[in-house]
Point group: C2
Chain length 411, copies 2
């Protein structure tokens, strides 16, 4: 078998062995319009050149809930949450009955393709912006895996590498900054130069996208920065696939105030205090830029009637859709036992909260932009080589990006 | 009965007699984000002052299809298309079997509240940007009603006024220009000064919104212009309500190319040439800025199986929803006999066409922005007096704007 015929199979999908360094980038919160506007502003010459070739730009569907963890895990496993088990950043653990972060690899039910390639002998590297993702994405990976957030603490024992700040040549960035993502790209270039991995996954943070709408100067500056690093990776021989974990929408009224439906409050008022329990799977330790407000929530009925709750919630202005556990599990390919009796989706301008008193809106210094719903499901799929051999009418997903870049990008 | 207790009833709704000149503005294609970004750019001092008062800014739902004619007619009748009959700009007339524009008042099944107020003795004026709307909105109206597009041709016999160019003091604008809408606002100010109508309806065109995203310099310039005229109307004593006929979304891939599902082509390929007939109700004589591409289509089955067609269309990437005639008529309050066997909705990045050869994309000199779907259903509802006495949890519609400004704005 020649190297070019070697395949790696993981989670029921087969991936061709990379014939050049393959880099997959997940640009957190990259609503396609950011790229359109950055190009129109003339700040992305590399993307311009790339996108002038047919077959390089596609739109795919992310996983719903359109949140960071479920989508990053889907991308590195190639399968939806019903298979890998990670359906939120945060959930109600049915075993313990406690609300916990879903960062623990113990919740992960499928191996990553990064780990599988490493196992098969490939040199693999993964760099995340925030440390919360590192343990999930790096699970079982014998290779390099570190976060920009804790780049100074990376050790060979834990991360397969040390001296990251020196390697990258940049100071440790703040967790709330555009520089956190720039560090990820800079690390990608440095790793390509120093280690030339066969397969590399880079995952940024949506700090800029939460704060700035497409065409804002700060948004264009972010994509100009990304463009410069991607050009350098291509110059180093990389075959590149770019996607996003989710899009991003304005979630305000016309005055710029957050549009929130406080679900726990609605249920408490109608059915009695704490008859039902609302869980917001967007919750994570970093809530300053979205105040834990996203467009996806799940509700555990407790003593309340599921049908009555569903009817009540569906009537709230701003609620786009209410699905039962079974409907949501089927439509969004979610693990049924890890979601509540109902799944509630906010419309494209509306986020869902628990009670007003649970959310600190004071840190929102700009009009709220967030995600989680169906309106943020559309994400770019871009490649620096045209795709070929795609089945006609195939629905593309962001978690097809490794399949597309390894099996369908022209080499 | 004192004037303040006088009510006008029309289409089953009761409206209080205006105690000051009431101006309702329909800002065509006003996605709420345009206002948020214009305010952030600091170009709308009047809106800033207005929106700093609680109770002045609301979000409502437009009619779906989120097109101009059904929504303008809903606004001036206070009822959905199932009552007034206008469900598109264009439709397949079941009587004649021909595809025709829906501009003819013969298709209108309900009186307008403008006509009803005039009938009751109020001085009423309506100004539209394009002439296509004038005949519908002015139907039965004994008052002033003209379009900016044909302002030079306005006669007392037909429009209740002549000498409009002299009155407004501006030249006749091009039909494809921001000036067409500016003429509407300028006419509003001139009419308030010269005629002081009790009730005035101003309806702009979405030329700017089709071309420019929120925060673009040209978009901000449009809203700055609007802000200046609204400030002058308020200074003249007007009670003002502002809404939109529909929102506006980018409809492109990440490279900026239009994302289109050509439905007739899909059906022809699968079921045979012209077994089914796709109608695009966005169609109107002015297609340069959207190439007749919107996110709502209706399909007449002909010899094809409705269920097979529905399944086939629902599987197309970019299609958000396929509804049967009965489902669509119920959900969107449409006249069932004026839509096809199926209604198809594109997702927030996708528009629906017939065949590629039917659409001239060459005139699209900027990335396509369009509307018609559920993603463009959210519109602003703004008032220069806080609203009071609204039932809790009431779903607001853009066609409630006259009810809200006449019955609920604090005077």
């Amino acid at each position: 078998m020649t190297p070019s015929e070697r395949m790696v199979e993981v989670n029921g999908r087969r991936y061709a062995w990379p014939r050049a360094p393959v880099v997959v980038v997940c640009v957190d919160g990259c609503e396609p319009e950011y790229l359109v506007q950055a190009r129109r502003a003339g700040v992305t010459p590399w993307l311009d050149r790339l996108l002038s070739q047919p077959g390089t730009a596609w739109i795919g569907d992310s996983v719903v809930p359109s949140f960071t963890n479920p989508n990053n895990v889907s991308i590195v496993t190639g399968v939806p949450p019903s298979v890998h088990g990670i359906c939120g950043n945060y959930f109600l653990d049915p075993q313990s009955g406690r609300e916990v972060m879903m960062n623990d690899p113990a919740y992960l039910r499928a191996p990553t393709l990064l780990a599988a390639f490493a196992q098969a002998g490939a040199a693999v590297a993964a760099v995340t912006a925030k440390d919360k993702l590192r343990t999930l994405l790096g699970h079982g990976l014998r290779g390099i895996c570190f976060s920009a957030e804790k780049a100074d603490q990376a050790s060979v024992a834990e991360c397969g590498i040390d001296g990251v700040l020196e390697l990258v040549g940049r100071p440790l960035p703040s967790v709330y900054s555009a520089e956190l993502s720039e560090f990820v790209f800079a690390a990608g270039v440095a790793l390509l130069q120093a280690h030339r991995p066969d397969l590399m996954y880079l995952s940024t943070t949506d700090y800029v996208q939460h704060k700035h709408a497409p065409n804002a100067a700060q948004a264009n500056a972010f994509y100009a920065m990304m463009d410069r690093y991607l050009a350098r990776m291509e110059a180093l021989g990389a075959v590149i696939g770019i996607t996003a974990d989710h899009g991003m929408s304005a979630k305000t009224d016309a005055a710029g105030a957050p549009q929130v439906v406080y679900l726990q409050q609605v249920l408490d008022d109608a059915l009695g205090q704490n008859c039902a329990r609302v869980i917001l799977p967007i919750t994570d330790p970093y809530v300053v830029h979205h105040a834990a407000l996203g467009s996806f929530a799940t509700v555990y009925a407790g003593s309340a009637s599921v049908a009555a709750m569903a009817g009540l919630l569906a009537r709230q202005p701003g609620v786009e859709l209410v699905l039962t556990r079974a409907q949501a599990a089927e439509r969004f390919e979610l693990p049924a036992e890890r979601i509540g009796d109902l799944v509630v989706l906010g419309d494209h301008l509306t986020v869902l909260g628990t009670r007003a008193s649970d959310h600190d809106l004071s840190a929102l210094d700009v009009p709220l932009r967030s995600h989680g719903g169906i309106s943020e499901q559309k994400v770019p799929l871009l490649f620096n080589r045209p795709l070929q051999g795609l089945a006609r009418g195939r629905r593309l997903r962001n978690f097809d990006v490794f399949d597309l870049v390894l099996n369908h990008a022209r080499h």
